[in-house]
């Protein structure tokens, strides 16, 4: 869409790949998904992609990363790298939003509310760790858009 953020997935994906197994091992509830329940992100219309992307960047920055601190300093460092990269991407998307090229339709609002409902359906630490473990779902979707 109009708001294609030149985001370096390589750095973020490398950081996530380095901790993915450890993070997903901390998520005992494998039958639930935060991002993909009931519908996959891939069903979102292209006109809603920018808005959903912005919502999800906010979601991870405001709600997820802060509840993922662990006793493992390697994991903490990689989460820091990812979180700071998300801030940088969000700032670029802000510029786009200010030019009104990132409008929010009904579908994106509904989709994001569903993500929040999934998140709030679990205790905060489990929800945050599960969301972090699903980061590759988000990265795959953002890379495809």
């Amino acid at each position: 869409g109009p708001c294609r953020v030149p985001m370096t997935m390589t750095e973020i994906r490398a950081g996530f790949t380095a901790i993915k197994a450890k993070i997903q091992a901390r998520d005992p509830i494998r039958t639930l998904s935060i991002l993909s329940h009931p519908h996959s992100l891939h069903k979102v219309k292209s006109s809603d992609r920018c808005c959903i992307t912005h919502h999800l960047l906010n979601f991870y920055v405001d709600k997820v990363f802060r509840h993922c601190k662990t006793e493992d300093s390697f994991i903490n460092r990689k989460i820091s790298s990812i979180a700071n990269s998300f801030l940088s991407v969000r700032r670029k998307l802000e510029q786009c939003r200010e030019q009104n090229k990132c409008t929010c339709g009904q579908e994106s609002t509904e989709k994001f509310n569903q993500v929040l409902a999934n998140y709030e359906g679990l205790n905060v630490t489990s929800a945050a760790m599960k969301s972090l473990g699903e980061l590759d779902i988000l990265l795959d979707w953002m890379e495809k858009s």
Binding site: S73, S80, S81, A83, N84, F86, L87
Partner: protein, 204 residues
């Protein structure tokens, strides 16, 4: 200025802290603290924009630089996002620790200095090839090439992933072809200057 102090006085914080950043490789350096007859070690921590704004201004210990004796720390792995970072280092002697010495001002990877890539131009029969230095996943290359004397008909090739050899063109016999290249880093949206021009001649 090196601090040379007696045995049981407090431990001074490292001074003259600075960041050397080239081609997205970031090295923090500082002056050594010297205590007669003691081994002084150092620990480095960083704080990104996220930690300041969302993480209660927390600091994160680096992996490679905890209790090291060197006075340089490779922070490339830890500070990869294009946001402002605070950096600090302190000295240790046994159980004694100094105050933190903090880098003056933020460091943002956006400000890294970019150098042109090392490049080797090859005439393989009538094929014009170029070998480019592998500078890491964040780097792309813009390669310009032209037949000598026809600078106005310069051609461009963007190389997103470094392969050992890049094929540029089929050359005419007995002609000179010239090549130059620059690096581009998408995450900071900046490019280096161009390399020196290298020319080769085809046989015939």
């Amino acid at each position: 200025l090196l601090e040379i102090l007696g045995e049981d006085t407090w431990l001074p914080a490292p001074q003259n802290i600075s960041m050397l950043s080239t081609n997205m490789k970031h090295f923090l350096t500082w002056n050594p603290v010297i205590i007669q007859g003691e081994t002084v070690r150092y620990s480095v921590e960083f704080q990104g924009e996220y930690e300041r704004d969302y993480g209660n201004e927390s600091w994160i210990p680096t992996w490679e630089c905890s209790l090291i004796t060197a006075t340089v720390c490779n922070l490339t792995e830890d500070i990869s996002a294009p946001v402002p970072y605070n950096l600090r280092v302190r000295a240790h002697v046994g159980l004694r620790r100094s105050e933190w010495g903090t880098l003056k001002g933020f460091f943002n990877p956006l400000t890294t200095s970019l150098t042109p890539p090392l490049m080797k131009v090859i005439a393989d029969g009538y094929h014009l090839l170029v070998e480019l230095e592998d500078m890491g996943p964040a780097f792309q290359f813009c390669v310009l090439y032209w037949k000598k004397g026809q600078e106005s008909r310069m051609q461009q090739k963007v190389v997103k992933e470094v392969r050992s050899v890049v094929h540029l063109d089929i050359m005419e016999p007995g002609a000179d072809y010239c090549v130059k290249a620059q690096t581009h880093v998408e995450v900071i949206n900046r490019s280096s200057s161009f390399s020196q021009t290298q020319c080769v001649r085809t046989q015939g």
